[in-house]
Subunit: 285 residues, 2 copies
């Protein structure tokens, strides 16, 4: 034995998935694999071997099994292209020219909506303190929102402001659990005289935590990855006045930055369909 029979089964199933075998569950439902018992007889192997093949495909993000229901083929939507450098600051010809961007992130032909902010007072972590240029034990206002794109979960966003902005500075709206209609940056400019002259972004990619899994409907597969972007906004004299952490599922998002002069067609509609091919083929051993 021991000739990796489970891998043969998995590879064959993957081929059949690609070929479009396996019909939809009900009308319009997800595509569904035959039950394990049927696969067992089809491949003439034990149920455990079938399950190893299915586990493998599940870890790769191709299928998902649900107790009592069956094993389903995972549908991955077309990615959304998000431009993170399209703010008013953007130098170059594209800066400030039209309505096709929002403040922090620009998408095309989609409608972002957001939940009511959940406002909390927190003590900053070490990392946030460093970015915000405050003492390690300082209190900050955190404003957390769930962002939807065309009513689908799209990102989780938390902004942090020094608590003094609201208490001593007069920017009391920061403590209210409402959207700030004119935008928080503009509001801080009005009340505190802050003017954003630059920002710094840090980008991570990692596996989602349990909250993120729930909100984005992600699983444990290697394809279930999130971006975590941390943006620090700076005013004159290098004063940090806002920090925003945003989490977005990597399978349905691509991030974009434009620096200097970039053709407007690229700025406005970055990237075509992603023709899947490995860019770095090192065939040699």
């Amino acid at each position: 034995m021991a000739a990796r029979r489970w891998r043969e089964v998995a590879d064959d199933l993957l081929k059949r998935i690609g070929d479009g075998d396996f019909p939809r569950d009900k009308d319009g439902g997800r595509r569904k694999l035959p039950p394990e018992s049927e696969l067992q007889s089809h491949y003439e192997t034990s149920r455990n071997t079938i399950r190893e093949a299915l586990d493998f495909l599940a870890n790769r993000g191709h299928v998902v099994s649900e107790q009592g229901k069956g094993t389903f083929i995972v549908f991955r939507p077309e990615p959304v292209h998000v431009t993170l450098s399209a703010t008013e600051l953007g130098v170059g010809p594209g800066g400030g020219e039209g309505q096709w961007y929002k403040r922090d992130a620009a998408v095309q032909n989609r409608e972002p909506t957001s939940s009511v902010p959940r406002v909390e007072i927190q003590v900053v972590s070490e990392q946030l303190a460093w970015y915000l240029q405050v003492e390690p034990a300082t209190q900050v206002v955190s404003r957390h929102q769930q962002i939807y794109l065309d009513d689908e979960p799209w990102s989780l966003q938390t902004s942090y402001y020094p608590l003094d902005f609201a208490l001593k500075g007069g920017a009391s709206k920061l403590l209210e659990a409402h959207d700030i209609p004119e935008g928080a940056v503009k509001y801080l400019g009005k009340t505190l005289g802050y003017k954003e002259v630059g920002y710094h972004d840090e980008i991570r990619a990692r596996a989602p935590d349990d909250n993120e899994k729930r909100f984005f409907a992600l699983g444990d597969s290697a394809a279930d990855v999130v971006f975590e972007t941390t943006r620090t906004a700076y005013g004159v004299e290098g004063k940090a006045f806002r920090l925003t952490v945003t989490v977005w599922p990597a399978d349905r998002n691509r991030l974009h930055y434009n620096v200097g002069e970039v053709p407007t067609r690229v700025m406005k509609a970055p990237s075509r369909r992603s023709s899947r091919r490995s860019p770095n083929g090192d065939e040699g051993t």
Copy 2:
């Protein structure tokens, strides 16, 4: 039965990993878990249940099992912070000030080296053609390199140039399997008169393919993720003249962008140690 015994075992093992139980294999080697047979008697369960717990930890990227050797705790190195906006173009106070940046990516206190380029003539994919502004069937020069940081595998990089640059334009060095000492962009400026006035970056995060797994020593776990950045360089009149695809493991890299005026201390040494805490805790159901 069926009370998720394997999960209890996995959670306990994870706690013990965090507590620093489990000694090193040999002196200075990796930390090693006891063999499955020992865990089996320790937890008073079957070997299969132990294996399910270990499979779970392996999928999460905490351990790796090797046939004939044992099961080892995975060591994740401190991440490297890479600044992708620190080129000569970079406006703001940090632009062009010192030696702390290289052309496309800046890192601190580390020594990047690269392999001899592997040069190929290829027909562009649909996506590359769109970015490079060439016809779908055009031939391009691809120059592929493996980049090391302090002699550790760090990134895989492939640059594409229209073949005409080398054939009709006189930039024949593009076809030679040597490094271009002065840098490809400067070389194209000298020979073809190209001047980079801007660039566009697209960022993906995904599971590594087999080549990338081999080069970076990655596995199948959900923690084994790579960034794929696609940079298109533009000259005057929006002419694209280079496209570079770079792949880097996400567990040991953080990407950074600076836009506008950013304090130099942030530009030079972005981010402190990543105090692990979820930024978006939605404790509610």
